[in-house]
């Protein structure tokens, strides 16, 4: 039906089902159990999972396929957010024009940035993207304040034009009347599950974005992008112009970033320049590498992993630790907590850094490679038990 190989279709279905059932899957612990703080099934966080998933899927089309490592992609996400909020200010709170414009503007902006930075390759390319993104970040705080509203951030005010607003149009972001923040809560025994409109809109768009990326990976264009990564010299002497291929990949990934930015603003109609900062650009690099650059599913896994850490690990504070280790003798308890407190709460970056080091060292293919190794081992074990010949198809 979707013009896809069986294996890819399976992957798409798995992602779609996971996205659909995320409100259950991410809330495995009863609401008032001690483990409830590890639940991630609240709409705000789930939205982040899928929106940053979109960002990373797009980034992977550039970095994973062509090998060009951009350190400025957060600029496109930021531009997407600003464009979306402007649509809310000028038209109405409907998210459709907002998301549409965020993709277009980010695409145009990435065309300019890509055109300039793709004149160089390797580290010089990375530095150029970093410099251009930092420049946009600085401009957003200075010269461009009429557009960006500077440090306050761009937001919607009651005296904005909003020319498409009817007398009873919703005053919060909505999809043709369906409010993003509205949700339905299902209570079963001790569990509580939230189903929010905003999350499901983001999740559907993420699944569509993932489907598009599979198509690109398996197309002749995708093959050319992998050729760019492998040997540009051979490409040039084979009659292929590498520049427009790399530029097209750059713009596509910029549009994915803009889409993610537009969705962030659609969930919460506020855009600040900090979204464009280099740390945000670095984060999407981490997500892609951690999950597995160049693999289809890696970026989604990486985005989920990092956002989970950022939101869950950072909430474990001293009093939580005291609760956990209260059973230890006082001196020992304080000792253990003194060590651990550096790794949780605001120290979550340290844990993430350590994990990143471990993964990059021992699993160069990222978490996806880890998953494949485990799957292979299990399969081999199963085959040994059955005394059947091992499955020889290479895992991908």
């Amino acid at each position: 039906m979707f013009n896809m190989e069986k294996r890819d279709k399976k992957l798409l279905i798995i992602i779609a089902v996971l996205a659909l059932l995320a409100p259950f899957a991410l809330n495995p612990f009863p609401t008032d159990s001690a483990m409830a703080q590890f639940n991630a099934g609240y709409p705000d966080l789930m939205q982040r999972f899928v929106i940053f998933g979109i960002f990373a899927i797009g980034f992977n089309i550039l970095f994973g396929l062509t090998g060009y490592l951009s350190f400025g992609h957060a600029a496109f996400l930021g531009v997407g957010s600003y464009s979306a909020v402007w649509m809310f200010k000028l038209l109405s709170m409907n998210v459709v024009p907002a998301i549409f414009l965020s993709v277009i503007v980010a695409g145009l902006f990435s065309l300019v940035v890509g055109y300039i930075s793709l004149r160089r390759s390797g580290i010089y390319f990375s530095i150029l993207t970093l410099a251009l993104a930092e420049m946009s970040f600085r401009l957003a705080y200075s010269v461009l304040t009429p557009i960006t509203n500077g440090e306050t951030g761009l937001q919607v005010y009651t005296n904005d034009p909003q020319i498409l607003m009817g007398p009873d149009s919703p005053t919060v972001t909505h999809l043709f009347g369906l409010e993003m923040r509205s949700s339905y809560t299902l209570d079963i025994a001790g569990w509580s599950f939230d189903f929010a409109v905003g999350y499901y809109l983001s999740a559907i768009i993420m699944v569509a974005a993932f489907y598009l990326s599979i198509r690109i990976f398996r197309s002749p264009f995708g093959l050319m992008l992998r050729a760019v990564k492998s040997n540009q010299q051979r490409m040039n002497y084979t009659g292929l112009n590498t520049r427009p291929y790399a530029l097209a990949a750059f713009v596509i990934s910029g549009m994915y970033a803009g889409l993610a930015g537009g969705l962030l603003a659609s969930m919460d109609p506020l855009a600040g320049a900090e979204r464009m900062q280099w740390t945000a650009s670095g984060e999407v690099v981490l997500m892609t590498i951690l999950g597995g650059a160049g693999t289809l599913i890696g970026p989604i896994v990486g985005a989920g992993f990092i956002k989970y850490f950022e939101n869950i690990f950072s909430k474990i504070n001293n009093s939580v630790l005291h609760e956990w280790f209260g059973f230890l003798p006082d001196g020992l308890e304080n000792g253990v907590i003194w060590v651990l407190e550096h790794f949780v709460g605001s120290g979550w970056h340290l844990t993430l850094g350590l994990l990143f080091m471990l993964i990059v060292t021992f699993l160069p293919g990222g978490l996806v490679e880890g998953g494949q190794r485990i799957a292979k081992r299990l399969r081999r074990k199963g085959a040994d038990d059955d005394d059947a010949p091992g499955n020889k198809t290479p895992a991908e």
Partner: protein, 252 residues
């Protein structure tokens, strides 16, 4: 008719005159060998022909059109394909994918945003690539990682990739270096066969005299950046200047 006319090419690298007033004509549909000792400037000459190097002076005409100043991909699209001295292939891709890329370049030109249809649906390209692999005796390696092959196999793959473009002028820089004797002979046979089947001009740089004398119709001897003589293989074999400058050396 000359398909390639090289006139008064000079190229200097710092204090080294790598090409010293080179003139060379290659007649259409012939095999023209360029021989000469190490460092004679043979690869440098090819670099000028494919747009990798800009010469200090001179002109290069291919089929009546100037080549100089064009980008390598444009020169290739004009009909010149090159096999490099050290194999240039797509190491990260499979052998079949390697072979498909020049087929796409031939069919779709230098750039095509063909991002939605799956490769598995490109029957004409797959068929062509598979066919070429069979011609190269490499069909059994089609799913291999190209980087994992031996140097000789990489070279054969590269030759096949260039041939699949059906170039009008094929430039070969020591195509049999690193190949086993059997593969060298296969390559000679393949080139002879291609030559019989279709119109193609081949310029070949080679140190292996067996290969040179089995294929070449004309031979140019290059030494220290200057063409010494150009003649038929029979005359070259007995030429005293050549024995001195080149053949004598290899006979030692």
């Amino acid at each position: 008719m000359n398909i390639l006319e090289v006139k008064n090419i000079n190229k200097r690298f710092g204090g080294l005159q790598a090409l010293d007033n080179v003139n060379l004509n290659v007649v259409e549909n012939t095999v023209h060998a360029i021989i000469g000792p190490n460092g004679a400037g043979k690869s440098t000459l090819l670099n000028v022909l494919v747009g990798k190097l800009i010469p200090d002076t001179g002109s290069v005409m291919f089929d009546g059109q100037s080549v100089l100043g064009r980008a390598p991909y444009e020169i290739n699209q004009m009909g010149i394909s090159r096999v490099f001295q050290t194999p240039e292939i797509f190491g990260d891709l499979s052998v079949l994918e390697n072979m498909m890329i020049p087929c796409f370049a031939k069919r779709d030109g230098s750039f095509e945003l063909n991002a939605m249809p799956p490769i598995s649906g490109q029957k004409d390209i797959i068929e062509r690539a598979e066919h070429m692999l069979e011609d190269m005796n490499m069909a059994d390696k089609r799913h291999m990682h190209a980087a994992a092959m031996s140097r000789g196999d990489k070279r054969r793959l590269e030759i096949g990739m260039c041939l699949s473009q059906e170039p009008r002028l094929l430039l070969l820089d020591e195509p049999t270096a690193g190949m086993a004797r059997a593969d060298t002979n296969n390559t000679i046979d393949l080139l002879k066969q291609i030559k019989e089947e279709r119109d193609i001009t081949i310029a070949i740089i080679e140190h292996d005299m067996h290969v040179v004398f089995s294929l070449a119709e004309r031979i140019t001897v290059l030494a220290q950046g200057t063409p010494l003589v150009e003649d038929t293989p029979e005359n070259i074999k007995g030429h005293p200047k050549v024995r001195e400058a080149y053949l004598g050396e290899t006979a030692v």
